[in-house]
Symmetry: C2
Subunit: 338 residues, 2 copies
DNA sequence: CAGCAGAATGTAAGCGCTTACATAACAAAG
DNA sequence: CTTTGTTATGTAAGCGCTTACATTCTGCTG
């Protein structure tokens, strides 16, 4: 802080001015900066000195143009509320960093022209990871794929576009089975199986658990995945529109808002009705009873996406089948366990 | 110069191949793609046809090099757990999108070489927003500033680096005053004022509230801001290491973990001890009693940072004083209100 | 119908890097 | 001393765009 001001940076310092200042050629400057080729120690020092005398910052675009790749990965997510996407992004970013790739983020919920945004993104990255339900039209994804490697996160693989997912069907079957084995006989699935492959697969597991026991599964209650949708459903449930002794919600936000609304209305959870969710968000540990849910390796999922992107850029062929990460049932009180 | 050697390279469609395919010059292709100059409708159509016949995706780096800017903003955040940073990022991204700027994200907690990461970032963006406590050495920020516009989020302005912040002192004074006015006389500040200007200012408000009433403020309990730190503090409190009838925590995560730990140990909140936090995270609405806290306009803060970055890039001079956004006290039950 | 303004398009000069290839410098070997 | 490797460094050709400027093509005007 007490030090003299930083070197007067000529706003226009380029590799040429550095070379001139150091009395060497631009090739040499490039070599010391890339650390690639051998450079005499004395020369290296001259260059380094010149670099910070001029406050030189290389122009990434020029390098990208010369080397013909961006050294950046794109990530397209719907939004970031709730811990799920944030954790995914952290995993992605961390892995990308290890691979020396920058990450360029696009959030689709804030975009009016999604397609333009994605095209624009394609312009500045080497590969793109798209979240399954980020609402990118399939043909856009496919046309993207023609130019750049693409991986879908939590979606279905198709047309040579590979997918990375967390396991859903089996854990949903296990979770639903757990609830059924508490003796509940009217377990409602809350969430729209058509809203994405994650929910579809969770629903499939729910159906399977019923089938396993020779039971009939009720029709799913098709609601979106936000707190507000949960609250709305809770109102309908309290109004007697649905009958249930257990609710298997497509995610924790739904489960939490429903559980709280029921409790506020004097219902006993899990006494009157059990509630389970999916994701294991932070709040699920804090509410009483604790929310029984399923933990996904979200961080790892993001990291896996970044890794695959990198491998695809490096020329590896896309995988046919989705890569699946295991999930873990987290049993707390809301399912009826003590 | 002439055109590149292989006109055959389909995967490498360039402006040249498009021009050739459409039977026009590259200048014309550029013109229709930028939509800038007038182009005869017939010509425009030929070009557009060629573009998607070849699946042409422009190379962002080449454009950046030619126009001499990146059309991208950098954002440096510590991490993304908890809703605070995620919301900030969403605000930033949304505003950046409106301004047609890409956002390149760097998370410092995942980096081993922070300084290198930031330098690398500077290479590919026009301007950078750094979160105050992202642990970037001050001299690095300053040297960055010499080349690119920089704004600090939730930090102090200095050396021509402007800052955007949410109000802290007055709302902390109000919050602490509120607790004191419930009759609490041993209000402990939990959090380390030296960990960043946000906490420092909250502490300052806490001290001011005491002074307002002619009371003495206790020494702050210096703990970090995570759940784990809160739990550890709660254990010490239960063990009798501290004495308090109210806890003013530097953020909600701390407050929540402490409150829950106390309740689990049989203490009554707010009966035995009141607990208040800061941030108004989602969980704060769900716990019982609801957590009294302060809501910050986090989304707006992110958006403001993006806006300022853009204005700085456009040549506007940096502001001397931090731009401050108002916060809002959210009173729920944990402070002692019914 | 020459002359000319204005519109549409083409030409070519960069933008700041990387890197293949050429060259220089110097030491060891013949 | 040449010759021959080895290193260290320089030269220059792009990378794929944008854009100032030049050129060509219209359709009028006088």
């Amino acid at each position: 802080m007490g030090k003299p001001a930083s070197p007067e940076a000529k706003p226009g310092a380029t590799i040429y001015s550095v070379a001139e200042h150091a009395g060497v050629s631009i090739a040499t400057v490039s070599r010391v900066l890339q650390g690639a080729a051998v450079v005499a120690e004395a020369t290296r020092q001259k260059v380094l000195t010149a670099v910070d005398a001029l406050g030189y910052v290389p122009l990434g675009a020029a390098r990208s143009l010369a080397v013909r790749h961006h050294e950046a990965h794109g990530l397209v997510l719907p939004e970031l509320s709730g811990p799920y996407y944030a954790e995914l992004l952290m995993g992605f970013e961390a892995r990308a960093a290890e691979l020396d790739q920058s990450v360029v983020l696009v959030l689709t919920d804030s975009r009016t022209d999604l397609v333009a945004a994605v095209r624009q993104l394609a312009t500045r990255v080497d590969a793109i990871a798209v979240f399954g339900s980020a609402a990118i039209p399939a043909d856009v994804v496919r046309s993207l794929r023609a130019k750049k490697p693409v991986v879908v996160i939590a979606g279905e693989p198709h047309d040579g576009i590979e997918a990375v997912v967390a396991e859903n069907v089996e854990s949903a079957r296990e979770l639903a089975g757990h609830v059924l084995d508490h003796g509940r006989r009217r377990v409602l699935f809350v969430g729209d199986p058509d809203s994405g492959s994650d929910v579809r697969n969770r629903h499939a597991g729910y159906v399977a658990a019923h089938r396993d026991r020779g039971l009939d599964a009720a029709e799913p209650v098709r609601v979106a995945l936000s707190e507000a949708d949960g609250a709305a459903f809770a109102r309908r449930l309290l109004a007697g529109e649905h009958e249930a002794d257990a609710l298997m919600c497509a995610n924790d936000e739904l489960a939490l808002s429903i559980m709280t609304a029921l409790q506020d209305a004097g219902r006993d959870v899990p006494g009157d009705v059990a509630v389970v969710g999916w994701d294991d968000v932070m709040t699920s540990r804090y509410v009483r009873p604790g929310l029984t849910t399923v933990r996904q390796p979200v961080h790892e999922l993001g990291a896996l996406a970044a890794s695959r992107l990198h491998e695809l850029v490096s020329g590896e062929p896309p995988r046919e089948d989705a890569q699946m990460l295991p999930t873990q049932l987290v049993v707390r009180g809301s399912c009826g366990c003590t």
